[in-house]
Amino acid sequence: MTTIEPPARIGLAGGDVEAPPLSPGQMAWRRFRRHKLAMANAVLLILLFVYSFGGAFVYSEAYANYNDTTKRLQPPSWEHPFGTDTIGRDILARTIYGGQISLLIGITAVLVQLVIGILIGALAGYYGGLLDSLLMRFTEAVLTIPGLFLLLIMAKYFTGKVPDITLLGRTYSGSVVVIVLIIGLTSWPRLARIVRAEFLALKENDFITAARATGTPNSQIIFRHILPNTVAPIVVTATLSVAGAIISEAYISFLGLGVQPPTATWGNMITGSTNYIEGAPWLWFFPGLLILLTVLSINFVGDGLRDALDPRSRPE
C-alpha cells in the first residue's frame, strides 16, 4: 500500500457526521436513555423509594404498628386512605414501613447473592480442574431443588434461630435477617454460572497471560484484571435479581414462613388475606400493587440496562 491516510469520516456531501468518540459509560447511558420504557420505570422506581423512605417523615413507625381493635377492617377513608387491617392498624403507614423492609431485603439479599455467586463462579472459572467440577456439581445440586421449596425449607430451618436485632434505634425482627440470608443462599447459582462462563472466556486473553507472566498474584488477576471485565452481565443479573428477591420475600411471607409481625413487609401484610378476599379487598390490594409496581419497574430497568451494557445478550 502506498497511501496510508486516516480513514476520512465523510458523508456524501462531505460534511463531518460523526461526533467525537464516546466513553463506554456515555454510550451505555445513551442506549439506556433511548429505551423509553426503562427510563420511565427508572423514575417510577425512584418514586417508590421516595414513598417508602420519605413516607417515614409523614408517619412514625409507632403509628404504623399502633393497633386499635375498635377500628379493625375499615375500608379506605380520609383518615385511613388505604383502610385498616385485621387488628386496626393503618395500612398506608404499614405499606411505607413494609416497603422499606421489602426493598432492603431485596437489595441486601442480592448483596449476599453477589458475594457467593461471584466467589464461586470466579474460583471455578479461574482455577478450573477439580475445584471447578466440585463447585459446579454443588451448583447443579442447588439448582436441582425447585427454588421456592428450598426457600420454604430453609425458612422453616432458620425460624427462631436468629434473635431480633436493633439498628439505628429501630428493632428488626430476626426473621428479616433470616429471609435475607436464605434468599441470598438460594439465588446465587445462576450468577455463579454466568461469572464462571465469563472467567473461562476472559482468562484465555493475552492481557491475562501477560499479567501471569509478570508474576501478578492470582488474587490480583481475579479481582483486578478479570472481574472488572465481567461487570456488565453481573450488573444486569443483580438488578433483575432484586426483583426476584422481592417476589421471593413476598411468597415466603405470604405463606407465613417469612418476616414475622410486628415488622411489616409488603409480603407479610398479605398473609391470611385469603380470608378477606371479599370482605376487605384493600387489605391485599395495596401491598400487592406496590409489589407489582416495584418488581415491574426493576424488570424494565434491568432490561434497559441489558440493552445498554450488554447489547449482545438477549433475555433468558
Binding site: L37, R137, F138, E140, A141, V142, T144, I145, P146, L148, F149, L150, L152, I153, M154, K156, Y157, T159, A243, I247, A250, Y251, F254, L255, G256, L257, I270, S273, T274, I277, E278, P281, W284, F285, G288, L289, I291, L292, V295, L296, I298, N299, F300, D303, R314, P315, E316
Partner: protein, 344 residues
Amino acid sequence: MTRYVIRRLLQSIPLLFVVSLILFVLLNNIGDPLTMMGGRNPTRPEDRERLARQLGLDQPILMQYVYWLVGNDWTMIDVDGDGEPETPGRRKGVLRGDFGISILTRGKPALDIIWERIPNTLLLMIPAQIVILVLGLGVGIYSALRQYSWVDNAVTTLSFVGFSMPIFLIALLSIYLFSVLFQRWGLPYLPANGMFDPQVGKTAAQIAKHMILPIFAIAFIDVARYSRYVRSAMLEVMSQDYIRTAKAKGLRRVTIIMVHALRNASLPIITLVGLDLPFLLAGAVVTERIFAWPGMGRLFLDHLERSDGAVVMGIVILLAVAVILSQILTDIVYAVFDPRIRYD
C-alpha cells in the same frame, strides 16, 4: 445417543446424593414432629421417647441418613430404651422405594400420601401448561411478525406486567372479579375454593369449573413469559439468511413462518419447556394455597409447617428426580429437532 443418556443417568446419581444430603441436614432441624403428631393433644413424654427410638430420631444424623437411604431392616433397633437392640428394623430405605412414614398421619407411608396428591396437581398443571404453550406461541409469533405495531407494543408491555406479577395478586384479583364481583352483579360467577362443591359432589363438570380460575392465574404469568421468549426467538430467526433464501424461493409467507422460522425458533423454546416441566409439579405451592386445591404444593406446605420430614423430603426428592429426568428428556427432544446436535 443411548450412551449419552446412560452417562447422564449415571451422572445424576452423585447429584441426587448431594441433593438428598443437603435436604436431610436441613429437614433434620425444622422442628420436632412429635410434639403434636397432628392430633389435638401434646404427645405424652413416655410415648415420645419410645416413638423417637422407634423412628430412629435418637440416632446421630449420619445414621439417620443411612436408615433413610438404605433402610434399617438389616439391623436391630432399641425400642424399649434399655440399651439393648431387640426389635428388627422394618424400614427399607429410599433406594428400595420406601420414603419413610408420615408421623402426621400416624404411620401412613410418605410415598402413598404424595402419590394420592400428584394427580390433583397434574390435573391443574397439564391443562395450564397447554394453555400457556398455545397462547404463548400464538401471541409471541403474532407479536414478532408485527414488530413495533401497537399490538406488539401492547403485548410487550403487558408481558412485562405478567412477568412481574406475584401470583397471589393475580389470583386474588381474579377471585375478586370473577367470583365476588360477578356474584354481586348477578352474573354467572366462578368458584374459587377447592376442587368441587361438596353439596354437588365430585363430578367432572364441577372439577372443570373449579379449575378455571387457578389455571387462569397460573397461565396469566407464564403466557407473558413465554410470549416474550417466543417473540425474541422468532425475531432472531426471522432476521437469518435462510429466511431470506426461503423468501427468494417464492414460498408462501405462512410456510416461511410456520416451517422455516418456527422449526428454528422452537429450539430455544424446547429448552424453556424442558426446564419448566418439573415445575408443573412444583409451581403450585402458592396457587394451591390460595385456591384451596388439594394438590402436592399444599401437601408440602401442610407437612412442612408441622415438621413432617419424611413427606417433605419425599416431595422434594421426587421433584429433583423430575428435574433431572426432564433435563435429559429435553436434550433428547432437542437432538430430534436439531440435526446438528449429536451426543457422543
